[in-house]
Assembly symmetry: C2
Homo-oligomer: 138 residues x 2
């Protein structure tokens, strides 16, 4: 119902502003993040993330991301009430963006971020292709 159509009102032909037009909000990349780390997710799974997204916002973002072709929504094999969300290749291909946020935050927000993130940032520094493959190869 609240399925937002992905309106083609880009601010310009700049690739950066266009990407931000599509998923430049505070939640979209976090939803992608969860799926990169954990793979297949349910609505409930997403609500359990540390950032505590509201169900209204989550419902809206999942619709948008599906409309953009970044994720897919499918039925649970046995439970008809549960839906399974998966990343598409297009969605997974946003991980390098995420990885650069991790690198930057590790460098400038180091005393604030989680230990595991620091370790992954170190992997990125030492061997970026391998570190990216760690999550993107599937």
């Amino acid at each position: 119902m609240k399925a937002k159509k992905s309106e083609n009102n880009f601010r310009s032909d700049c690739p950066i502003s266009s990407a931000l037009d599509l998923f430049g909000d505070k939640w979209s990349l976090l939803i992608i993040r969860d799926m990169v780390y954990f793979g297949e997710r349910t609505f409930k799974d997403f609500t359990n993330a540390a950032e505590r997204i509201s169900t209204a916002r989550l419902s809206d973002r999942l619709c948008k991301l599906e409309n953009l072709g970044l994720i897919t929504k499918s039925n649970h094999p046995t439970n008809k009430k549960i839906y399974l969300y998966n990343l598409t290749a297009k969605g997974m291909d946003l991980f390098p963006v995420i990885a650069e946020y991790i690198r930057w935050s590790n460098k400038y927000l180091n005393d604030h971020i989680a230990k595991e993130a620091k370790e992954y940032a170190k992997m990125l520094e030492n061997d970026r292709p391998a570190a990216l493959n760690h999550f993107m190869k599937r």
Copy 2:
């Protein structure tokens, strides 16, 4: 006056959400982008960008970015009414994030984005370190 204090209310200790908490809006990275491409900029310069940021929003973002230590604000050598904005190393270090947005948009929004961006995306594919240095080395 409208200098927003950078409040330490991060949603979590995740490096991605924390970065988005700081500059995960639709304008901050575009301001950084302009400075990466053109170097030193004035208030007026920013308002001339294709995305047409409003002066209220621009004023607010420049304050925030300065408070975050991503940019500096200094006086014009002869004109006291004009201020000069420059990237700090911390701000310039966001360019790899921007570069990944360019790469992604070139791949999935190709028929929409500017020609020059496509060429830069090709440089990134062929030799990423060199392409990054093209703008970051200064």
